[in-house]
Structure formats: structure tokens, C-alpha cells
């Protein structure tokens, strides 16, 4: 959806920010979730809206999303194309600014951050994995992995050692000198995962990581993600069409027409798989 639209920032953006400021004041401090869940909220979206102006026609990509995501959680976001999944991702990943509403990452309002603080956030606290990998074409696998470290001010020698160990985790240690063009899609995505983990982020945002891959490689990628979640306690938010995701995630979230249709725990969903099937074309 987002790719189809040439975004034009609307004048409502400023108004939105002002409106949001009042929301922040009235917003209560994060409370433990009902049901005795004591985990911390790491991402909180409040009344998130995003619209694009296209030839004077306003398209609403998000129509007010409220969600809380907890530390160490593996959450899958599902929904048909054009449902606003990617837009939602860009908002909570601090990659784009909402038209109105607020995003808190660990109780910090993203809208209040300066460009330098945003860079810090993207560099060390959030890892991004894209459907089309987005590796830097002119860099080798190792250089791709160490670039975020360079931005974080890690010395070249240390970056090299850390980069090699990350490549080892994704099973590409032997191919560190290959450029993206010399690697298969699965290998590229594994490099992208290693890169996203470069500075030990707390959050991993994956936008359809397996969509361009065949079944087997998709399974490999998911296994790696699962391991990162289990072993390192990384919060993973993963947009997907992939059914296999159901087996490994803690919670599922459905987005339709820019709104959250439903959020459910995995054990609640298992029996309804047939119904989900219908939604995916």
C-alpha cells in the first residue's frame, strides 16, 4: 500500500502533533496488563493514524490503531495486502511519522526525539528486516553487517569480530566476502538478519521476511528468528502471510482496512486456522 502512494505530507500533520501533545498528558502511566501479565510494554501505539494525499484524494492507510507490545514477545501481524501492515510497521519502527496519534518505544515518545536521537534508536535499539532484504549492493556480507556498528562508533577490529560471529549465527561465516548479488535470496535475508542484530537491538521489526523465499529457506529464516527470540530475548514483530509463523509466535494480530481487527494468543487461534485461510489471497 505504502509503495503505491506518493506521500504528500498534509497540513493536518502539524495539527496532529498538537493534538497528540494533549493525549500524552492525559495518558496514564503504563499499567500491567489485565490477566496478571507482569511483562513490560515496549511498544505502545495510541490512536495511530496515517493518511496519504494523492491527487487531492486522501487515502487513509491507518485509521486509529491502539496496541501494546511486550518485551520479549514474538508477535505476528497478519492481513491482506493494502491493509496497512507496512504503514503500521514504519510507524512503530520510527521510520515514518504518523499523521496523528503517538508511538511510544519503551515509554519514549518517538515524535519528541531529535534526528540524532532517532538515528541512535534505529542504530542500536531496533533492527529492521525487509521483504526485499535492502542490503547495500556494493558491500560484502561482512561489510553489510558491520556498517551499523560503524555508525554506532564501534572500532573496525571489534566490528569485524562481532560481524563474523553474527554471520556464524546465521550460518554464512564462510561466505563473508560475498556481495549480495552473488548470494541467493535466503542467504541475503540471513545477512540482513545478521545486520539487524549488529548492535544487539531490543526490537526486531520484520516486514514479510519470507515473502520472497521458497518454503524451505523461509523455514530456515523463521528458525533463526525464533532462536533470536528465545535465546536473546529480542522482541520480534513480524508482518507475514506465512502460516508457519503461527507455530512460533506468541500472539497474532490481524489488520484490515487500517484497523486492528483482532489480537489473539496463539493457543486461542490454533483451532481457527481454517478461517484465517480464507482471508489470505
Amino acid at each position: 500500500m505504502a509503495k503505491k502512494n506518493k506521500a504528500t505530507r498534509t497540513s493536518s500533520e502539524k495539527g496532529g502533533t498538537a493534538q497528540v501533545a494533549t493525549v500524552a498528558q492525559t495518558q496514564p502511566q503504563p499499567a500491567a496488563r489485565s490477566g496478571g501479565d507482569e511483562r513490560r510494554v515496549i511498544i505502545r501505539a495510541i490512536a495511530l493514524k496515517k493518511s496519504y494525499m494523492q491527487k487531492e484524494v486522501e487515502t487513509q492507510a491507518l485509521r486509529g490503531v491502539n496496541v501494546e507490545i511486550y518485551t520479549g514477545e514474538f508477535i505476528s501481524v497478519m492481513g491482506p495486502s493494502g491493509s496497512g501492515k507496512s504503514t503500521f510497521f514504519n510507524m512503530i519502527g520510527a521510520l515514518d511519522s504518523p499523521t496523528s496519534g503517538r508511538v511510544f518505544i519503551d515509554e519514549v515518545d518517538v515524535a519528541q526525539l531529535t534526528a540524532v536521537e532517532l538515528a541512535f534508536l534505529r542504530c542500536r535499539k531496533i533492527g529492521y528486516i525487509f521483504q526485499s532484504y535492502n542490503l547495500i549492493q556494493y558491500m560484502t556480507a561482512l561489510e553489510n553487517v558491520t556498517t551499523p556498528m560503524a555508525f554506532a562508533g564501534v572500532g573496525p577490529d571489534e566490528a569485524r569480530v562481532r560481524g563474523m560471529s553474527l554471520l556464524e549465527i546465521v550460518g554464512l561465516k564462510e561466505r563473508w566476502f560475498h556481495r549480495p548479488i552473488e548470494m541467493s535470496g535466503g542467504q541475503q535475508q540471513r545477512v540482513a538478519i545478521a545486520r539487524s542484530m549488529a548492535n544487539n537491538p531490543s526490537i526486531l521489526l520484520c516486514d514479510e521476511p519470507t515473502a520472497n523465499l521458497d518454503l524451505h529457506t523461509g523455514r530456515e529464516i523463521l528458525t533463526i528468528l525464533q532462536r533470536l527470540n528465545r535465546e536473546r530475548g529480542v522482541t520480534i514483530i513480524c508482518a507475514t502471510h506465512d502460516h508457519r509463523m503461527l507455530d512460533i509466535c506468541d500472539r497474532l494480530m490481524w489488520i484490515r482496512d487500517g484497523q486492528i481487527e483482532r489480537i489473539a494468543r496463539r493457543d486461542e487461534v490454533h483451532i481457527e486456522v481454517g478461517a484465517i485461510d480464507d482471508e489470505e489471497h
Binding site: D96, E117, F120, C123, N134, I136, Q137, A150, F151
Partner: protein
């Protein structure tokens, strides 16, 4: 405890930025080469124009000096033979500074006191300006202004009744004509003309007297022959007659007069039937085709000169002590003279404009600058816009806006250095090649190496700065966008 503690992102070090940039340039070698070539071509164009102008200017300055030297004796021979017309006196004296020999000479020959001479000089300068103005007018316009009058007759004719009014009407009707000074000044000038003409005639009369005096000393000898003795008795006589012949000048004049005499001996000899026939059979051309130029081309080598002098002696011609070396030398000077005259013609307009390279060249330079700017800006704009996705990705990885801009500006500057140096060197080489084509051997010794080096450095800097500046704007725009917005633009 907070999981996320947000701080300020540090700025990436310069060397890391540079190494990332270089990796990028190496990977996109072909793309980078295209950009380099664009920059090189633009800089070469600029450099070529500047280089050619500099070389041309320097060669022409050199050759103008040398020509003046070679014509020295001829100028003096003319000065000692004819007093010149009133117009000649006005135009020459109009160009002369008050401390020049010509000014002082005129004062002495006409017998003016210094104050009077100053007044005369002012009037003559005025007159020279007006003469130049009328001289440069086309015939139709001049006819409408002053009927058929020419030269200094114009001033006389304008004093007749009704003529001045007619002139003013005609001038008012010609908007594009720029008249020197005001009409009132000109009217005054025309009013004073008889007086001015009288003074000019006095200078002319003084010259005639002096020439008569010199002629008595000559006693029938040709002036040029006598001028070979410019440093000796004849020089004294010339000075005694009132001409200003300096000591240094006398030496040069004597040398050149000597050459002219020798040249005349050789050139006269070609007209002797026996010599002409011998030369024509030796060169296998018709006797009628043997010209003075044939002779000079022929005696350029020692062997030929020897043969020719032998033929002259055979024909019982006076070789007047001409040696083989002298003959070869004269042939060399003749060739040099020919190329100097050719260079003088090639000079065209060599006044005004930037760096004194002439108005036309200045325009060409401005246009080439424009081509340079457009070419480089376009190349950089393209290479930045086609990498929006990369910029967005780098931002996702935590790159600061400044680091991204630095990467692009560095890349542009590096390409600019390579392209600039290539272009500057190429431009100079092309300029040298072309100038050797037009000026030939005159180029050697007259090439302004220092100026060319300075211009090459300046052109390189222009290339680097333009490339960097052209990269600043698009990369600034791209770097400031939110990452996803940058990705969407693609």
C-alpha cells in the same frame, strides 16, 4: 529499569566514511567512470579555452615585440625619407605619451616650447580620436554626415556654412553611433581647426627640414645602406638633424639595416637570368616560377647556400662578403618573419575581456563554464537520485543525515578530483596541439608554463567544487527525508 536508553548518536569518523565511499565508487566503477568522464570533458572544455587564450596571448605578445624589432630599420628608413601626411602625424602623435621620443622629437623639430607642445598634444589627441571615429564609420553614414570629405579635410569642410548643422542632424538620426565626447566639444574643436592644422603643418615642416638635412649627408646613398652606420657618423648626423635616435635603438637599427642590405643583395640576384636559370634547373621548375620565396626556401640549408653563393660568384655578382652561415641565418629570419606576420593576422582582437583574452573568448569561456556546471550538476543529481533506496537503508541502520551527506559529497569530490585532473591535463594538451598547429615554432619559448599550470589548478578546483556543490543539494534533500519516504520516492 528501562530497556531502551536513548542517547545522542555519535558522528561516524571521517576515515570510516571515506572507506565506505571508496568501496561504493569501486563497486560502481562504470557509473563512476561515466561521471568522471562528464566532469573531465567539462573541465577539459574550460581548460582548453583558457589555455588557448593564454598561449595565444603570450605568443602574440612575444611576436609583436620581435616584429617591432625586425621592422625597426624599415620604420627609420621611412621616417628619414618622407615627412608623412598630416593624418599620419596626428594619429601617431595622438598615441604617443608626453615622455616618448616621438613627442620630444616633434617638439624639437617644430620648435615648440614645452607649454605649447602640451597644448598641441592635447589638440592632436582630440583630432586623432575624431579621425579614428570617422575612419571607422561605413561609407554611407560618413557620406550623410560629411558628404565626400576624407581625413582632415572633414574638419575643414565642416566649417563651411550649413555643414555643421547637417552633420549634427545626421548624427542625431544614428542612434547606434557613439560619438567621442560631446557635440559642443567637437564644435569648439572644428572652430579651432585652422590653428590646429597650422601647428600640425609646423611639425610636418620641421620634419621636412630635418629630412633635407639628412639627405645632404646621404649624398645619394640609399637610406637603408646609410642606416647600417646608425651607431656611427650617420647616426650622429640623424641626431643633429633633430631626430631622436637612442643609443640602444641605434644598435638594433644598424643590425637590422645590415640585414636588409644583405637580403636585398640576395633577392636582387634571383633576377639575374643566369642565376634564375641555374636555380630553376636545380629545382626542376620553370624559370618564371622562381620567386624570392623560392630562393629563401632553397638557401635554408648549408649545402644549398654554398651552391647558391658559388653560382653568384660564377655570374660575377657582388656577394658583398656574404658567408654561407649568414645566408642560412637570413633564410631563417625570413621564415621567422613570415610566421610572425601570420601570427599577427591570427591575433584578431586581443583587447578587453576577462584576462585580456578578448571579448569573444570571454563569452566562449562563460559558455564553457555553463556547460561545465550543467554537465556536472546533472551527473551528480542522477547518481544521488538513483540511490535514494540506499540512502533510506543507511538511515534505517542509524546513519546520521550529516554522515550520508558527507559520503555523497566525498564521492563527488573524489570523482571531481580525478575528472578535474584528467580534464585539465587533456585540455592543456589539446590547447598546445592546436596552438602548435597555428603558430608552429613560435610556440617554443613563448608558452606561458606558469600561467597554464595556474589555470589547470584553477580548472581542477572548479571541477571539484562544482561536483561537490552539485551533490550537496540532492543528498541533503534525500538525507533529511524519513527513511520510508525516501524509499517510496523510488
Amino acid at each position: 529499569m528501562k530497556v531502551i536508553d536513548i542517547q545522542q548518536q555519535p558522528t561516524m569518523g571521517f576515515s570510516r566514511t571515506l572507506s565506505i565511499t571508496i568501496i561504493g565508487i569501486r563497486y560502481r566503477l562504470f557509473r563512476s567512470l561515466v561521471t568522471v568522464v562528464v566532469i573531465a570533458v567539462a573541465v577539459a572544455f574550460l581548460m582548453n579555452i583558457v589555455g588557448e587564450s593564454l598561449i595565444r596571448k603570450s605568443v602574440l605578445e612575444n611576436s609583436a615585440d620581435r616584429l617591432r624589432e625586425l621592422r625597426h630599420a624599415a620604420v627609420w628608413a621611412a621616417r628619414l625619407s618622407v615627412p608623412g601626411t598630416a593624418e599620419d602625424i596626428i594619429l601617431n602623435l595622438g598615441k604617443a605619451e608626453p615622455d616618448s621620443p616621438l613627442y620630444q622629437e616633434s617638439q624639437v623639430l617644430a620648435g615648440f616650447d614645452p607649454g605649447e607642445m602640451q597644448a598641441v598634444h592635447e589638440q592632436v589627441c582630440r583630432a586623432a580620436e575624431y579621425l579614428t571615429f570617422f575612419g571607422e564609420l561605413d561609407y554611407g553614414r560618413r557620406r550623410r554626415m560629411v558628404a565626400g570629405a576624407e581625413g582632415s579635410d572633414i574638419f575643414r569642410s565642416l566649417r563651411e556654412t550649413g555643414r555643421m548643422e547637417r552633420f549634427e542632424d545626421a548624427l542625431a538620426g544614428m542612434k547606434s553611433v557613439r560619438f567621442p565626447g560631446t557635440i559642443e566639444q567637437f564644435r569648439d574643436f572644428v572652430g579651432q581647426w585652422p590653428e590646429i592644422e597650422g601647428r600640425v603643418q609646423r611639425i610636418r615642416e620641421g620634419r621636412r627640414q630635418a629630412i633635407r638635412q639628412v639627405r645632404e649627408v646621404l649624398d645619394g646613398r640609399p637610406v637603408v645602406d646609410a642606416l647600417t652606420d646608425a651607431t656611427g657618423q650617420f647616426g650622429q648626423a640623424v641626431r643633429a638633424a633633430g631626430f631622436r635616435l637612442g643609443e640602444d635603438e641605434a644598435g638594433a637599427v644598424a643590425r637590422e639595416a645590415r640585414r636588409m642590405v644583405d637580403v636585398r643583395i640576395l633577392e636582387d640576384s634571383v633576377n639575374k637570368p643566369a642565376i634564375r636559370k641555374a636555380l630553376s634547373s636545380r629545382l626542376d621548375v620553370l624559370p618564371a616560377d622562381v620567386t624570392v620565396q623560392t630562393l629563401w626556401d632553397f638557401v635554408g640549408s648549408r649545402e644549398n647556400a654554398e651552391w647558391y653563393l658559388a653560382k653568384m660568384r660564377e655570374g660575377e655578382l657582388d656577394t658583398a662578403g656574404l658567408t654561407v652561415e649568414r645566408t642560412v641565418e637570413l633564410a631563417g629570419v625570413d621564415a621567422e618573419f613570415a610566421s610572425l606576420v601570420r601570427a599577427e593576422h591570427l591575433g584578431g582582437d586581443l583587447s578587453g575581456g576577462f584576462l585580456g583574452v578578448g571579448e569573444r573568448m570571454t563569452w566562449l569561456m562563460l559558455v564553457s563554464m555553463l556547460v561545465c556546471v550543467v554537465g556536472i550538476a546533472n551527473a551528480m543529481l542522477m547518481s544521488v537520485t538513483e540511490r535514494f533506496r540506499e540512502i533510506a537503508t543507511l538511515k534505517c541502520l542509524g546513519a546520521l543525515d550529516g554522515s550520508i551527506m558527507l559520503m555523497f559529497v566525498l564521492e563527488a569530490a573524489l570523482l571531481g578530483v580525478v575528472g578535474g585532473v584528467m580534464g585539465a591535463v587533456g585540455g592543456v594538451l589539446i590547447a598546445l596541439g592546436r596552438m602548435i598547429g597555428s603558430f608552429g615554432s613560435l610556440m617554443f619559448g613563448a608558452t606561458p608554463a606558469g600561467d597554464l599550470t595556474a589555470a589547470a589548478i584553477a580548472a581542477t578546483v572548479v571541477g571539484v567544487v562544482l561536483a561537490a556543490v552539485a551533490a550537496v543539494y540532492p543528498s541533503f534533500k534525500a538525507a533529511r527525508l524519513a527513511p520510508m519516504e525516501a524509499m517510496r520516492i523510488e
